[in-house]
């Protein structure tokens, strides 16, 4: 199974929300800026709760923020 299959559109969504900075997003969802950087670069997959909080900030469904690439998933 390939790693890092959870992809995201956070950078694009930030841009479309008045060019929101990573720090601003981090404050809104209650994490550090480093965590937002790690999520954006797909190095860290957030918990379901944090994923929902990020989607709530942008006012879009979860599926518009995160997507799952099931290409190499044996299941």
């Amino acid at each position: 199974m390939e790693k890092r299959q959870v992809r995201n559109n956070i950078r694009k969504l930030r841009f479309h929300h008045n060019e929101m900075t990573q720090e601003q997003l981090a404050v809104k969802v209650g994490v550090t800026r480093q965590t937002i950087i790690a999520i954006e670069s797909a190095k860290y997959s957030p918990s379901l709760e944090l994923a929902f909080r990020i989607a709530l900030v942008f006012g879009v469904p979860l599926g518009e923020v995160f997507s799952y690439d099931a290409e190499d998933d044996p299941a």
Partner: protein, 150 residues
């Protein structure tokens, strides 16, 4: 470098200094004709107390210094967000796991010296050494995860 990384770096430097002091003293004792129980016991007390006290003081000083630097940088008295989120907790747990593995292997190695006929002082000295070494490995692994991104 994030707040957590700075804290871990301070902890790492502290542990390295303590383990250095411990090894130098053990080596000097060995050079002077072997381990003397009274001197070894007092060394253990010093090292364990130092590991606890210096870590606490180091952590407090780091917090104060970081707050001062933040206030100077921003020019306000607004507190910096020293928060620990889910990723920090996960990295912390991975660090603890690395520490436990190191300490477990260390204890086994220390017990082996007893099996091979070394005095108990050697075994306990090695256990103390591996307890600090485990902390060092834990700190290094946490820094590694922070630098890698996760």
């Amino acid at each position: 470098m994030s707040y957590q990384e700075k804290n871990i770096t301070v902890s790492l430097v502290t542990h390295l200094l303590i383990v250095g002091y411990y090894l130098v003293n053990l080596f000097q004792m060995h050079q002077a004709g072997g381990l003397v129980s009274t001197r070894v016991f007092s060394l253990w007390v010093i090292v364990i107390a130092a590991a606890i006290i210096i870590n606490i003081i180091g952590s407090i000083l780091t917090n104060i210094l970081l707050s001062i630097v933040h206030a100077i940088k921003t020019g306000t008295e607004q507190e910096e967000r020293f928060i620990e989120d889910e990723r920090d907790k996960l990295i912390g747990l991975k660090g603890i796991r690395a520490s436990y593995i190191t300490f477990s292997v260390g204890v086994l190695l220390a017990m082996l010296t007893f099996v091979f006929g070394q005095p108990p002082l050697v075994m306990f000295s090695l256990i103390i050494f591996f307890s600090i070494a485990a902390e060092i490995i834990g700190d290094i692994s946490q820094l590694y995860f922070y630098r890698r991104g996760f």
